[in-house]
Symmetry: C2
Subunit: 412 residues, 2 copies
C-alpha cells in the first residue's frame, strides 16, 4: 500500500489557523503528535476505526483520547441517547435520568454513596477539592508532580495567564513516595484538605508508573490519621480497569472519585461520587452549569454502563490490551529495539527505553500513522471493547514495519 498523505487536512488547518488561536488548540494540537505525519481533521468513525478528511482509514488506538470505550457509534448507546433526545433535553429541571444514573453509580462503585454530574473532567477535579476544603475547613491540596488533573489554573500544565495565587495552595510530591506526602503535611501545619491522585501515574511524554506495593495503603493511612480527603482522579482511567473505580483495580479505597471521558462512550459528561461523610459538604459547594442536568448524555451513560456490565467489556479490553502490549514488546525486541511498554493493558503506553529526545517514538508513531494505525507518540493509548484480535494483529503488523524503519534509522 502507498503511504497516506493529508492534503485536505493541511488545507483545512490553514483555514483553522486563520480563525482559531493555535489553529488546533489543546491536546489535539498537531505539535503534540508529529506534524505532517498525522491527520489533523476527522470525518467519520465506526467501531474501532475512523476516517480523516482525506479519506484515510485508521485503526484507532486513542479512542478520542479515552471517551470511546465501546467503539464509535455503538448501537445500544445511540438508541438510548436517541430515545431521550426525541423527548427533549436541556429542560428547566433535571429528568429522571439524573436520579437513575446517580443510583447506578452508587450501585456499581463501592465507595459511592452519592453522585453529582457536570460536563468536563476539570469541573469535577476542581470541585472535589472545594468539597474537601469545605469538609475539612482547610486550604491546601497535595498532588503528584507531573500528574494531569485538567486545565484549571491550580493544575494546568500550561504557563499562560496565571497568577501567583493560583498554585499557592497546591503542594507537590513525587509519585509513590508516601513519606514525602507526610513531610508536606507536617511542614504545612496539617492545613491539608485533600490528596488528589490519578489511580496510577500517567504523565505525558513518559512511562506510566503503577502504584508501588503498599503505596495506596500508606496514603489511605495518612489520610485517616490527619483527616484528609483522598480523591482519585479517574477521568482518564475510569471504566477501563474496574467498574467500581480504578482504585479498586489497584486495591485502594478513595473518599471521592472523579469521572469523565469513558462514562458515556463519547457523550459530554463528567461525574463525581463520594462517601456519605462528604455529602453535606458537597451540598454546600455551589456547583452548576447551563447544561449539567441535560438528559441525553445521562441516558447514553446509563446504556454504556449497562452494556459494559452485560458484556464484561473491561475484561475484553484488558485481554486485547495485553495482546497489544505483549506483541509490541516481542516485535520490538525481535528488531533489537528497547521497547518499554507500561501502564495497565487497556491503557497502554509505549516509549523507547534508550532515548530521551523522543525521536524514535516520533518516527515509530509517524510510520504507523502513515500506514493507518494511530499510536500517539507522547500520550498513553486507549483500547475499546470494539477492538478485536484482528485489529490488534493488524496494528502489530504495521508496528512491525515501523520498528524496522526505526531500527534502520537509529540502529538500536
Amino acid at each position: 500500500m502507498s503511504l497516506y498523505s493529508f492534503p485536505k487536512s493541511n488545507k483545512l488547518f490553514e483555514r483553522a489557523a486563520a480563525r482559531i488561536p493555535g489553529g488546533i488548540p489543546g491536546h489535539q494540537s498537531p505539535a503534540l503528535t508529529v506534524p505532517g505525519a498525522f491527520p489533523y481533521f476527522a470525518e467519520r468513525a465506526q467501531g474501532c476505526r475512523y476516517w480523516d478528511v482525506d479519506g484515510n482509514e485508521f485503526i484507532d488506538f486513542m479512542c478520542g483520547y479515552g471517551p470511546i470505550v465501546l467503539g464509535y457509534n455503538h448501537p445500544k448507546v445511540e438508541a438510548a441517547a436517541a430515545a431521550q433526545r426525541e423527548r427533549g433535553f436541556c429542560f428547566n429541571h433535571p429528568s429522571e435520568r439524573t436520579v437513575e444514573l446517580a443510583e447506578k453509580l452508587c450501585d456499581i462503585i463501592p465507595i459511592a454513596d452519592w453522585a453529582v454530574f457536570a460536563r468536563n473532567g476539570s469541573d469535577i477535579t476542581t470541585w472535589s477539592l472545594q468539597v474537601a476544603r469545605e469538609h475539612t475547613q482547610r486550604n491546601k491540596v497535595i498532588m503528584a508532580r507531573g500528574a494531569y488533573h485538567g486545565t484549571h489554573a491550580w493544575c494546568t500544565p500550561g504557563h499562560g495567564g496565571l497568577t501567583m495565587e493560583d498554585t499557592n495552595n497546591v503542594l507537590m510530591f513525587t509519585w509513590n513516595n508516601a513519606d514525602e506526602i507526610r513531610d508536606l503535611i507536617i511542614k504545612n501545619d496539617k492545613d491539608v484538605a485533600a490528596i488528589i491522585l490519578t489511580p496510577y501515574h500517567h504523565p505525558a511524554f513518559g512511562d506510566s508508573v503503577l502504584p508501588a506495593p503498599g503505596f495506596y495503603q500508606a496514603v489511605r493511612s495518612i489520610c485517616d490519621e490527619y483527616g484528609i480527603v483522598m480523591i482519585i482522579d479517574d477521568v482518564r482511567a475510569g471504566f477501563r480497569l474496574n467498574m467500581g473505580g480504578s482504585s479498586e483495580y489497584f486495591g485502594g479505597k478513595a473518599d471521592m472519585i472523579c469521572y469523565s471521558k469513558a462514562i458515556a462512550n463519547g457523550y459530554t459528561l463528567s461525574a463525581g461520587v463520594g462517601r456519605k461523610e462528604l455529602k453535606n459538604a458537597a451540598g454546600r459547594v455551589f456547583f452548576t452549569g447551563s447544561f449539567w442536568s441535560s438528559p441525553v448524555e445521562l441516558a447514553a451513560s446509563l446504556a454504556t454502563i449497562d452494556e459494559m456490565l452485560a458484556t464484561n467489556a473491561i475484561d475484553k479490553m484488558l485481554r486485547m490490551g495485553k495482546m497489544l502490549q505483549d506483541g509490541l514488546k516481542q516485535r520490538g525486541e525481535a528488531h533489537g529495539l528497547q521497547v518499554s511498554v507500561t501502564g495497565p493493558p487497556s491503557i497502554p503506553n509505549m516509549t523507547f527505553a534508550n532515548e530521551t529526545n523522543f525521536r524514535r517514538m516520533q518516527r515509530f508513531s509517524a510510520e504507523c500513522s502513515l500506514r493507518g494505525v494511530f499510536f500517539h507518540p507522547h500520550h498513553n493509548w486507549f483500547i475499546s471493547a470494539a477492538h478485536e484480535e484482528a485489529d490488534i494483529k493488524k496494528g502489530l503488523d504495521i508496528a512491525d514495519e515501523a520498528f524496522a524503519i526505526v531500527k534502520k534509522e537509529f540502529g538500536s
Copy 2:
C-alpha cells in the same frame, strides 16, 4: 381547570435527595423557585412548551435557563445534529465543523477575528481572564458587584470550599459607575488586566439594569487609556439581542466576548471570540477538554445561527417579549399592583416594586406555575422564537389570575 399537583416530582425528589447532595443542586434547586408550587423533574418538551413527570404542561418562559432559543426540538437544528452524529463524534481530531463555526462567528460578530470552543460558560469566562492576563502581563480583574460570571472560585455566588486566594485578584465596582472603575485602577497601581461585564446587569433576586447612557463608552475609553482588555460575558444574553453580540445592541465594543447557552439551541457548547490583537495571547493559554472539538454540538450551532439569521429570530423574540412585558405591566397595574418589568424584551425580568421580601413575587409565580406557565420568581426569564402571540396571550391571561390572587392577599 384544576391546579397542578406534583406527586411524581416529589417522589422522584426523595430518590434524588438520597443519592445527590442537595437532591437537585445548582440553579435548578427547588429552593430557588417556590418549593411545592413548581415541578422538580421534566419529562419532555416541544417548541415553547414542556411537560413535567406528572404530565403537567407548561408554557415555558425559562427556555432551559436560556439555551433554548428556537424552541425545543427544532427540526433544522436536530437534522443538522443528526447528520453529524451519524458520521461520528468525539474523534481524535477536530472536524471541519470547528473551522466552519469559527468562520461563521467571525462573519457575524463585528469584533471577532478568532474563536475558541469549550463546553461551559464558566470555561470561557475564566479563560478570557487568563488571556487578558497573558496579553497585559497584569493580574487583577474588575467585575460588577452582584454580576454572575459562572461558578468558578473567583466569581461563584456560593461560599463553600473557597480559599482567601480565590478572590485576591478580583476587584468589584457598582454597575454603571465608571468613576469607581477608574478609582480601582489607580488604587491598584494599574495592575488591571481585564474589565469583565455582562452586557447589561442581570442580578438574581433583583431588577435588571440596562447600561446607562455613556457607560459603555466610558468603560471603552478607560480600557483604551490603561491598556485593559474589555470582556463582555454574553453567556446569558447572547443571541437574544443582536447576532453580533449583545454589546452591539447597546452600542458597545468589546475586546473579547464569551458565549454559551443559546449558541446551539440547547446543545452543550460555549465559545469565546476576540480581536486579533489578543490572538497570540489566546494561543498561549493552554485550554482544552476531552469533548471540546466534538462536532455534533458545533453542527447544531451552525444550524441554529443560520436559522436565526434566515428568520430574523431576534426581531421576533424582541416583539414577543415586548408584548409580554407591556401586558404584564398593564394587567398588574389594572389590579393596582406595582409591577416592575425590567430587562430587554427578549430577556424580561419582573419584580414587585413595593416589596423587599419576595413574597408577592413568589405567590405570583407559584400561582402561574400551578396553572401551567413557568415564570421564575427570582431570575430573569427568556423568550424563544417558538413563542407565538397566542402563547404570550395565554401567559398573560394566567398572569392575570395570579395578579388577582396577589392583590387579594397583599392588598397592593
